[in-house]
Amino acid sequence: MLLDPKAGILVQGITGREASAMVEDSLAYGSPIVAGVTPGKGGREVHGVPVYDTVAEAVRRHGPTVSIISVPAPAVPAAALEAFAGGIKLCLIMTERVPRLDTSRLLVAAREAGCTVIGPNTLGLIRPGVAKLGTIGGRVDNVRRSFMPGRTAVLSRSGGMTTEIASFLTSRGVGQSIAVGVGGDPVIGANFTDLIGMLEDDPGTDAVVIYGEPGGGAEEQLAERLARKPSRLRINAFLSGRFVDDLEGVRFGHAAVIVEGGRGSVRGKADALRSVGVHVADAFDDILEGLGAPGMTTPAR
């Protein structure tokens, strides 16, 4: 299961403004952040967390196996490679606007190092009542109000919608085993298909709510996987951006069409998922329909 509750957490880029606020909220929620790294700022503390110059030193002293990367985009590849070299097994990359080439290259290195990458461009992930990685949920009072422990996972291409969906589930009495903002970029580490595979091995998860968007092929790829190998998990999906299908086509050459083979439209994604038994909600409020999660009540319209 992603995010072992006992695993120590490292924050790379810990002295940044956003990272510092994230550390404060995460510690308050109980996340075991054991060390931070900012080159040249070793010896400082951020909300009581010791800062080191290198990942190697932080790992030697505190033994974290999880890392959160919150460094400027140009510094992401080096930070990620340093994390992999330090034996980090789960790496969450919060940074936005990482060039696609850099992401692809660091994912090759992650595979070789046996490290799972979430992101880039993610607000993070949370196991309610256990720990959170990243700014997901924001201030700790909002984290507690939005998430509650349970047996339904939330996987979302939008960070904001991760919390929105979890908050909606919580208000309907449906707790979450984990909620993951998978990252908003076209090329990301663990995608829907990868994460569903991991959740199938998690005895604490019965159902999954997926949030998808126009573009890319992550939803279609999941549908193909489910067609090949049905899942024990009950899967519901909500897809937004239907209006984008109706905007005037923006064609620029043929490569995207050849590679994606007509993937990308919200209608196409909905059809693909429905064809393999995924319940696709037309309206956000129908997201729980037929989910069958324990303790679930059908939402009133």
Binding site: N142, G160, M161, E164, S167, G184, F243, E248, V250
Partner: protein, 393 residues
């Protein structure tokens, strides 16, 4: 960033690719001179950042300089899918024996770049069965030997296979070295003299790599912006300018629509969700927009005033998901400041205000002082959209 044909060709020529280079002409007289210099038949091609030009009549054959003048005069200054044609490229006409398609792009599901080769060029390539794809290591180009293997099953003879392999190596090297999203040579023609030459090129560069690609891009001249199938409207351009004022957070990314209900919505996913819901409930959005990532009060105020300044806009709906790192109180203050600048009252303008999440209690107090009852998370995104439509009617 999508390069114009002549820009893409210049970029790719730097990788040793043989491309039918043109002379760029911004006037009919310049096109005639270019044709005279080339001598013999030429092709006059409108320089616009999208494909399908042939079908749209924006590629014309001219047998002599006078005909080139006429072709350029017909194209220049006209508008194609919203893009004003400011320049044409005048290129020697090539005698073609057969055409191929060569490209490189990204397989996002596989998380790897992919090389593409087809035995048919032109617009038929998408429907052709004879297309080979091969993903490659993002650290390298695809080696020419591996590229040459892609011809297997495409009905391409061994004679050109080695040469196509070398073209694929150059194209895939261009993809990784230029941070390209797409590199496409289509068609890659084999001339009647047996020479491989690219007649058209499409290159799109990753926006996120723009900074480190400046050295390569700057010499190419102005690069058209905007990912829509049309140029940005003045309102959209102004929103982008506001967004660029400060690197903190997003308060821009506006797409203009024709309705009377202004939308200040976010984050990215919730913006899509809310826009869908507004339309489903029968509302008429004046715009789509994305706000998120904790923008400054000033950016929110400027964007609010901009959206309300659009003629015909009557109401404003402010709807965000349960916010994480965005502060609801900063949003509330920014919206009120923007209303003030637009000379509007909160009570008379705000259809709904729904930003639950971090700092929501503070935001609720700020809005209450302005006479607005902020909605909480108990009102879903869908319901908030319905209420906005009802209150805007």
């Amino acid at each position: 960033m999508r390069l114009l044909e002549h820009q893409g060709k210049r970029l790719l020529a730097g990788f040793g690719l043989n491309l039918n280079a043109g002379t760029v002409a911004a006037s009919a007289d310049a096109a005639r001179e270019a044709a005279a210099e080339i001598g013999g038949p030429v092709v006059v091609k409108a320089q616009v950042p999208f494909g399908g030009r042939g079908k749209a009549g924006a590629v014309k054959v001219a047998n002599d300089p006078g005909a080139a003048w006429t072709a350029a005069a017909e194209l220049l200054g006209t508008t194609l899918r919203g893009h004003r044609i400011a320049a044409v490229s005048v290129e020697p006409r090539v005698s073609i024996r057969r055409e191929f398609y060569v490209g490189a792009a990204w397989d996002c599901a596989a998380k790897l770049p992919v090389a593409i080769l087809a035995a048919a060029g032109g617009i038929e390539v998408e429907s052709s069965r004879n297309v080979a794809r091969r993903s490659f290591d993002p650290r390298g180009p695809l080696p020419a030997s591996a590229g040459a293997e892609m011809v297997d099953g495409l009905g391409i003879d061994a004679r050109v296979a080695a040469e196509l392999g070398r073209v694929l190596e150059k194209v895939t090297r261009a993809l990784v070295e230029c941070d390209a999203i797409t590199v496409e040579i289509n068609p890659l023609a084999e001339t009647t003299d047996g020479i491989l030459i690219g007649l058209d090129a499409r290159v799109e560069i990753d926006d996120d790599a723009a900074a480190r690609q400046q050295v390569r891009l700057a010499p190419l001249g102005a690069i058209s912006q905007g990912s829509l199938g049309r140029p940005a409207t003045p309102l959209e351009a102004e929103a982008a300018r506001i967004d660029a004022l400060d690197h903190r957070g997003v308060a821009g990314r506006v797409v203009e629509f024709g309705g009377d209900l202004a939308l200040l919505i976010g984050g990215g996913g919730a913006s899509l969700t809310v826009f869908d819901a507004i339309q489903r409930h029968g509302g008429n959005p004046a715009n789509y927009c994305e706000v998120g990532g904790n923008p400054t009060e000033e950016k929110v105020a400027a964007l609010t005033a901009l959206l309300l300044g659009k003629p015909g806009v009557r109401k404003l709906a402010v709807i965000m998901n349960v916010v994480n790192n965005t502060r609801a109180d900063v949003m509330a203050r920014g919206v009120l400041l923007g209303l003030d600048r637009a000379g509007r009252t909160a009570a008379g303008t705000i259809a709904v205000f729904r930003i639950p999440g971090s700092w929501e209690d503070e935001a609720r107090a700020i809005m209450a002082a302005a006479g607005i009852r902020a909605l909480g998370r108990e009102v879903s995104l869908d319901e908030a959209a319905r209420l906005a439509v009802t209150h805007a009617a």
